[in-house]
Symmetry: C2
Amino acid sequence: MEHKIGLIGCGTVGQGLLQILHDKKVFLRDTFGFEARVVAICDKIKGTLILPDGLDIPTVLALLGAGKALADYPGATPAQVESRDPLDMIERTDADIIAELTYTDIKTGEPATSYIKKALRLGKNVVTSNKGPAALHYREIQDLARQNGLQFRIEGTVMSGTPVFHLAECGLAGNNIREIKGILNGTTNFILSKMETEGMDYGPALDLAQKLGYAEADPTADVEGFDALAKVVILSNVLLGGSLKTADVPCRGISAITKADVETAKAKGFRYKLIGHAKRENGAVTATVAPQKLPLSDPLAGVMGAQNALSLETDLMGKVTIQGAGAGKLETGFAILSDILAIHRR
Amino acid sequence: MEHKIGLIGCGTVGQGLLQILHDKKVFLRDTFGFEARVVAICDKIKGTLILPDGLDIPTVLALLGAGKALADYPGATPAQVESRDPLDMIERTDADIIAELTYTDIKTGEPATSYIKKALRLGKNVVTSNKGPAALHYREIQDLARQNGLQFRIEGTVMSGTPVFHLAECGLAGNNIREIKGILNGTTNFILSKMETEGMDYGPALDLAQKLGYAEADPTADVEGFDALAKVVILSNVLLGGSLKTADVPCRGISAITKADVETAKAKGFRYKLIGHAKRENGAVTATVAPQKLPLSDPLAGVMGAQNALSLETDLMGKVTIQGAGAGKLETGFAILSDILAIHRR
């Protein structure tokens, strides 16, 4: 079966997805009977390209790699590359799956939420790696999707392609998940790991994370825990059935943790980790983000460097922990593909 | 949708499955639209019960819990509890799913393989926790299932309900898995953990494992690696596309590991684990089972006690590791349920 895919946003994640769709074309067709035709891309900076017959992925990746715009796509008519708002693109494309890959605005969830709702209203499934709509409006968007017999999928919002929602939905289906505990931000885990294993102080460890590209120039969202906070809210609402808002969740980052704290903990057999934690008790869901001293026997204690991990506490299986990459071009591109494949399977 | 289920074997796993089907009846119906009617049980020791209208699970569990036979099921006619061979039961029941839960014979895979084939030939899906058929005849049985438009599912054969095949099939679908490395036997991991954390020698650690019920009176299958071997063969053939037989896999257990070995490794920052390892290279799949000294940075190094874990090396996601229970009544019962739910989803 062939799916027509439209991309809103074509930065790192979008290009990762395109790369995978191209490299794995034959494998995906032969293994799953899955074929994809990318019929539209709409990016704030790179412009618009709407080609109902499907665009040539290597051509697009070469253009973008050379710093050119989609308007330079060879042979495209002016109407096909006319600059458009994503809302306009959604209306014009016959894509049956929209991949919403724009940047997260955790305060409003916009403009992504408007894009997603419009796509669902027009009968298109939506997959996204954008934490804003998932953290702020999950229930509402999911209801809209269901009413229209469509899917709204968000694997890429938490641990890139390391499966969290697929795990709950598929491998652990039938369990009652009552608690989750995770290392949900690779940057802070990298910094804490360096502070412990190489005896670095917080400042130099952060500098190193920035130098290596793990942390942004303004590292606030990572080190103050806001990135982990958005993810905890998503996990609470999707896996535990909560209806938390970000303001409901006490949040403390790692910027006040010193080398001495790390060393004192280590001497007592503990290891500092920035932990996103949520649980359901007596019907109420509560969550926190804070540095915690874990005993080395905790499956999360051994997770070092920029890796992510999540422990799910379940009624039948006890604790199940999954560990893997939490970011990356191919990794998040794969998260989008895994959601597209889930739509294909239905 | 209602499924009619027949059980061959009703020991720990079968009773775990029945318990879950009963306790989760409403949840499974409301969440997945799944309903189960258990229409037949055939157990070598406990006898046979064939009730096309469905049996009452609490009554059966109470009978078995009191050490009675299925023949004592209240109100059953002599024909319904007449002693039968499982092959005969398969022929007589109108179950659409057979749960094959008898004990593993790793040399022949029998009689389980014959039961499974007969069920598939008669149009019934099969789920099993029996390592024999999966390790020895997977490809052949899977082909038979496909030819008949049926499913043959084996989640319970490797890490009880900790999802391995569901993970590959669902959350990681689209990846090329090229290598797997796992702690696949809880007994040996318990023994090695005790040797390291409590400085015990091999003998006393094994005694403790036996006392706590982790190890059998004859611990050979665990400590010499044969249990892990069967699981590595299954993983190699299912996840890596190999066609290994148990004789192809060099296998060494932990009985020759001394306290001194463990301590020397620890002093150098390593930890002994019994590792099942398989990889595909240049189209050929090879595997081993052997004690390995892992650096503490390996995600498997932190897996202590009777837990199991598996790392999958993939092309898109790098290494993904899942950790959880590897045995248990409810845990393996859940493995069977998770496969039944997968059949339900199709």
